[in-house]
Symmetry: C2
Subunit: 337 residues, 2 copies
């Protein structure tokens, strides 16, 4: 097999949402592989520091725009022939995507449609990052790609879950109509450096609370499960998926099969921190899924991929990054020299 990203090395790649958590790692990996990368982001939930790091690199450019609006002429005037378009643009944690549910829906549907039209126009291969949320609160474990899901289309998570399902529908219709060559990744829980501290997801919540010496907030019993994939593994899978040959495009689950409870995650955090951590329990939010674990047989078979980063190692690197961010955000007088 070729090296991942080799096919994109000489290419001109657009990464929508490229300043976000996974997006900024993807941009860096594509630059490492030799690609020219244009990052498109509205900076709604992206960390400015992610973008600042990327702006120091060669072959990187940035366009600030919101994909719910017509794309800027800089992208559509035909002067840049994109070879690959990744769509990672959308707030992905419930408090952030529920703050403006209409915008979340339009980002997924109208935004994806704008990028698909650009792919059609430039002949670029298009990759949508969909989500494990298309399975809702699943009644089948682990979830294979042909499981049709259990989403409440009238609930407060629907703007994201149904938005992504609608985006998938659009993408596969573009493929069926011969309008674009497409790939769809369904990303499960991912963690790592460059996450927002305040994004409200369990890993960032627990790490920040640990580092700040606060009690850890657990929603529900803590026996709900998640499968946490380290971001470098996720990005490797996305690049392989973009490279992959597929006669008929199919969605591909990207995540780890190592399913743990939230309480087990706390125990892993205690091991990283080297001390016991106190817990406070809160009610479970509406429609919060009880279990989530991907069946990654398809990714193994089609991409020759599986995650390789152990939770302990990934958590340690993530904690280290968060500790630096917290230190950097304090006034200089409070910093330890």
């Amino acid at each position: 097999m070729r090296n991942p990203g080799e096919a994109q090395a000489g290419g001109t790649v657009l990464v929508a949402g490229g300043a976000g958590f996974i997006g900024s790692h993807l941009c860096a990996a594509l630059l490492d592989a030799g690609a020219h990368v244009t990052c498109l982001d509205n900076m709604q939930t992206a960390l400015p520091s992610n973008l600042q790091r990327l702006l120091q690199r060669e072959r990187f450019s940035f366009v600030e725009a919101d994909i719910t609006q017509p794309l800027p002429a800089a992208l559509t005037d035909g002067r840049t022939r994109f070879t690959h378009i990744y769509n990672l643009a959308c707030a992905a944690s419930p408090p952030l995507y529920q703050a403006d549910p209409e915008h979340t829906m339009l980002t997924n549907v109208v935004g994806t449609n704008h990028l698909l039209r650009l792919a059609e126009q430039t002949g670029a291969r298009f990759l949508l990052t969909s989500t494990s949320e298309v399975y809702g609160d699943p009644e089948v474990h682990p979830q294979p790609e042909d499981y049709r899901g259990n989403v409440n289309c009238t609930g407060p998570r629907a703007c994201y879950d149904e938005g992504k399902r609608a985006a998938e529908a659009l993408v596969f219709d573009y493929a069926r109509m011969g309008r674009a060559d497409v790939r769809v990744a369904r990303i499960f829980n991912t963690y790592g450096p460059q996450m927002r501290m305040d994004d409200g997801r369990v890993v960032s919540n627990l790490i920040c609370q640990s580092l700040e010496g606060q009690k850890l907030t657990i929603y529900g019993s803590g026996n709900q499960t998640r499968s946490f994939c380290y971001v470098a593994d996720t990005v490797d899978a996305l690049i392989r998926l973009m490279d992959s040959d597929m006669a008929q495009p199919v969605p591909v689950n990207i995540g780890t099969q190592a399913e743990i409870t939230v309480l087990e995650l706390v125990a892993a955090m205690e091991a990283v921190m080297g001390r016991p951590l106190d817990i406070t329990y809160h009610d479970l939010p509406q429609d919060d899924p009880q279990r989530r674990r991907p069946d990654i047989s398809r990714a193994r078979a089609l991409l020759g991929w599986e995650p390789t980063t152990q939770l302990a190692a990934g958590l340690a690197r993530t904690c280290e990054w968060f500790a630096e961010e917290i230190a950097a955000s304090r006034p200089p007088a409070q910093r330890v020299a």
Copy 2:
């Protein structure tokens, strides 16, 4: 209980998709109830004859526009304060909505969003006609409104099914954010006069083939079931739903619980036609649902409604209308004086 439509009698009502099959019956019923009615339609699948009949009535006006585009100033300039907005705009039969799946998705998501914004702006109550298709190929029978469905979000029906699910998500988010007072109907199979002859749905297909002396096309074994509601009953339910009081909006199934197989429908057609009908069998299209039957407990409880038209009577009236349409479409020389 008040008479259905009484609350809308003095109102100014916008009906998007008002020249379509159900929409044209709804416009007529609202005019009968005393409302001022503005019909908005792009004439994509509407029969011009439906519109011609309505244009002869008082208190009726027509705006030709496509709701995927920004709404015309005639609707948004504030000179007309709509009290009620019904959204029935979307091609609803698979051959028609699959012809341009991107437009189908955008009609449901962008179009619904444009109309929701108009509802917010004018303070109108908003009613979305959603569909039994949100249940996909259901594994629960009959389908209650809290059943989350079994939709293939990557398949050829997804542009419609996921489009409607996404539209519901938007509508309930508008309600949660306090931006609009909303109602959602999930309409099951409906039949009656003013359907397109070529819309590809089973009732219109079988009636036209019977009247033209052709063999009846049955997809699959003919043992798949449907529940056929007569359009006058459906329209009565929509008007009652728009009138209804709801502290928290919930979707309401509109349809009949009289579930019959396609072969039983053929037998009912034979009774109407007074002669045996020949059948030819074809393969079932992809993702065609095997069973479909609403649980209408909620409509009974909230709206005091259930269908009252028997299939034999409804089919007879529909056949009569189709026979007139076919006769009218022939050159005069071929018509029997």
